[in-house]
């Protein structure tokens, strides 16, 4: 039987049976289910019943605020004086009260009194109080139907067109970023897991000198290519489990009212799989190089931090990506091979990525994998027998020249 296949099979089975792989693979759907469940539970428990309508007291010193005292789930109750309002608050007849001072129409200032310790006033209350004030201010000055419009003048309905002027398949939506965002985070974690698995495996083989036994049976190329392919397949299996669980989670999320406006970008699935595989292969190739020059598994893990943490750079700056999606820095990160997988996934949810950028990014990634594999095999061949001592940079360069 082909030796490459035999090592591939051994490495693949060894990895998928490991506790860390099982946890990493299952934790995504499990956490997703937990997240949906907890959100649904919190939402259900937090929904106020009819009896739980919030009662807010107010003292109208201007004398024009007496209508539309029920706004949604908030009921505004008038008090003649501040003292009466305070007494009502102390008795808990009201949850809070506001003072509309005499100079309100010129200053616009409203005083709010509450027993609660709050950093900011809840937005729902702000909106409802605002509506109450606006409706009363406009009453008798504009027609009733205009009052509603003035209070809430903007209700945007956005439609995205394609270049032909037809309605685009993919509409802009905050829900677009959710799946790519989660996926890019998982991708980064999976790449980190893959790199760590490969380096620790190589470290174990080097430290125990099993690597010498293996190389007395197979070639360096056979061993390393098998390891890279096994890791890539492991990653693919992982992403398949996640993708299979995704529709179930999404339907559960919609059913529970959590994340109802989710859209998956049209090219997300195809590009997601391509970048996942390429990312895994690149990190596997880099890990082989690091595994070759590391004196032990722990040192290899530390050295691999350079590229595993770098792959998270797009996530660190994701808020800037949302604010400035057209910056050229994102183009650089899309093409730079270490950040390309995560950056591309993130950008898919935020804006369109020109085809040339995607093609260049995939091309650079592919080239990096081939060149990286070539160099890693060379480095590995020269340094595979070393353990307990890490070669210096000049030694590595010399070995690349001589190999």
């Amino acid at each position: 039987m082909n030796k490459t296949y035999l090592i591939f099979k051994h490495e693949f089975l060894h990895t998928i049976k490991s506790v860390s792989f099982i946890i990493m693979t299952l934790i995504v759907p499990v956490l997703g289910l937990l997240g949906i469940g907890i959100t649904a539970m919190v939402t259900t428990l937090s929904e106020p019943s009819i009896e739980e309508i919030t009662v807010i007291g107010y003292v109208d010193e201007v004398g024009i605020f007496e209508n539309q005292t029920t706004q949604g789930l908030i009921k505004l109750v008038p008090f003649v004086s501040r003292e009466d309002a305070i007494q009502a608050l102390v008795r808990r007849d009201v949850t809070e009260y506001i003072i509309i001072p005499l100079d309100y129409t010129s200053s616009g200032i409203i005083q709010r009194y509450t027993l609660e310790k709050e950093l900011i006033t809840p937005q729902v209350k702000v909106e409802m109080i605002k509506r109450f004030l606006s409706v009363n201010l406009l009453e008798d000055k504009v027609p009733p139907d205009m009052v509603t419009l003035i209070v809430s003048p903007l209700n945007l309905e956005i439609t995205r067109l394609n270049e032909k002027g037809d309605i685009a398949l993919e509409q802009s939506n905050i829900g677009n970023i959710i799946i790519p965002g989660i996926f890019s985070l998982l991708l980064g974690l999976a790449l980190m897991f893959g790199a760590t698995t490969l380096i620790s495996g190589l470290g174990e083989e080097k430290e125990s000198r099993l690597i010498e036994v293996l190389f007395s049976s197979v070639s360096v190329r056979q061993l390393l290519i098998s390891k890279v392919l096994a890791l890539g397949t492991t990653g693919l299996l992982q992403v398949l489990v996640w993708l299979i669980s995704a529709p179930l989670l999404l339907s559960l999320a919609s059913f529970s009212g959590f994340m109802t406006n989710i859209q998956i970008p049209v090219n997300f699935l195809v590009l997601g799989i391509i970048y996942f595989i390429l990312g895994y292969l690149l990190f596997a190739v880099l890990s082989i190089g690091i595994g070759a020059i590391s004196s032990n598994a722990r040192e290899g893990g530390q050295l691999s931090m350079f590229y595993t943490l770098s792959s998270f750079i797009p996530l660190w700056f994701s808020s800037l990506l949302f604010a400035f999606p057209d910056s050229s820095i994102w183009v650089v990160l899309t093409i730079f091979p270490i950040t390309a997988p995560v950056q591309t996934m993130l950008r898919l949810g935020v804006s369109d990525i020109p085809l040339w950028q995607i093609m260049t990014s995939i091309g650079v990634l592919g080239l990096s994998i081939i060149v990286g594999l070539f160099l890693s095999i060379k480095i590995f061949r020269m340094h595979m027998l070393m353990h307990g001592k890490r070669p210096g940079f000049t030694e590595i360069i010399r070995s690349l020249k001589n190999a």
Binding site: K3, R209, S217, V218, L385
Partner: protein
């Protein structure tokens, strides 16, 4: 066909010579002892033979040609420092590495059971390697080395860390492998081990050949003109004895060049001295090495 032929091999690391002009060969059915102190260049020589690294100059031929991938199925290698996949069972490890040497799984399992039985490890075959003692692990590694019935076996310090019982078991298996026609290279710094097993030896020091040839011939050529005796009572002065060296339980009598050992034995009998031991002194490999290298170990 010669199993291994090494010609004028040189290797150095950052200016330090590891192997210097080594030439030797190993034939099928022969056990060559590659001996020398630690750091003599034994492991470097083995790694060049196995094509783990390239020599600076010189040539290595395996089975009459430069080593190729197919030859690897015919080589069994036991490295000096040993380890196993901790999470695998002994039998799974043996079968995996046998498969990498092109062995059919059913045949490998059959042979593994025989070897496990011979080494007293059959009952532990499903034990995970991480739960094994060091000695057990070393037996498993030895089995891994020979499971695929290789024509060339290279053993680097095979007895290191083994208890006397296991050492004897491994020695017997090595002896049988030689009888089966395997070419074996046994590398060790424990020179007494090779005296029992090897046909020929290559003794190296500082990467260079010190001695190479038939073990009996080498020992004969270094034979001292002396006898080792253990007697009850005083020997006194004996004609033909020019020096006496007292050891813990014996005396080495250094003879004059024209004195035969038989004459000394006759003299002792004439004096009615009880003789417990009378032996013509042959030097150990260790003594030969010390003689040649002047005790200049690395």
């Amino acid at each position: 066909m010669t199993a291994v032929a090494v010609h004028h091999l040189y290797k150095s690391y950052t200016g330090k010579t590891a192997v210097k002009d080594l030439t030797f060969s190993v034939e099928p059915g022969e056990l060559l002892g590659l001996i020398g102190p630690n750091g003599a260049g034994k492991s470097s020589t083995i790694k060049i033979i196995l094509d783990f690294m390239k020599p600076d100059s010189g040539e290595v031929k395996i089975f009459g040609h430069q080593m190729n991938e197919a030859d690897k199925n015919q080589i069994g290698y036991l490295p000096e420092e040993r380890g196993l996949y901790k999470k695998l069972t002994a039998i799974d490890l043996i079968l995996y590495l046998a498969s990498l040497n092109g062995m059919d799984n059913a045949l490998a399992e059959k042979r593994a059971n025989v070897l496990l039985q011979q080494t007293g490890m059959l009952e532990s075959k499903k034990m995970k390697n991480k739960n094994m003692s060091k000695g057990m692990g070393q037996i498993i590694q030895f089995i891994v080395t020979i499971i695929h019935d290789p024509k060339l076996i290279i053993l680097d310090e095979p007895f290191s860390g083994l208890d006397p019982v296991n050492t004897e078991i491994i020695k017997n298996i090595i002896g049988n492998l030689r009888k089966e026609g395997k070419a074996i290279i046994l590398s060790t710094h424990q020179m007494n081990q090779v005296e029992e097993l090897c046909d020929r030896i290559l003794m190296i020091n500082h990467g260079s050949e010190v001695l190479y040839g038939d073990l009996k011939d080498i020992k004969a050529s270094f034979k001292k003109h002396s006898v080792q005796v253990n007697v009850e009572g005083e020997i006194g002065d004996l004609p033909g004895v020019i020096d006496k060296k007292f050891n813990k339980d014996s005396v080495e009598l250094v003879l004059a060049p024209d004195t035969k050992p038989q004459i000394i034995l006759d003299q002792l009998r004439e004096r009615e001295i009880t003789i417990n031991r009378f032996e013509i002194k042959t030097p150990s490999l260790n003594e030969i090495f010390l003689d040649i290298a002047g005790g200049n170990h690395e």
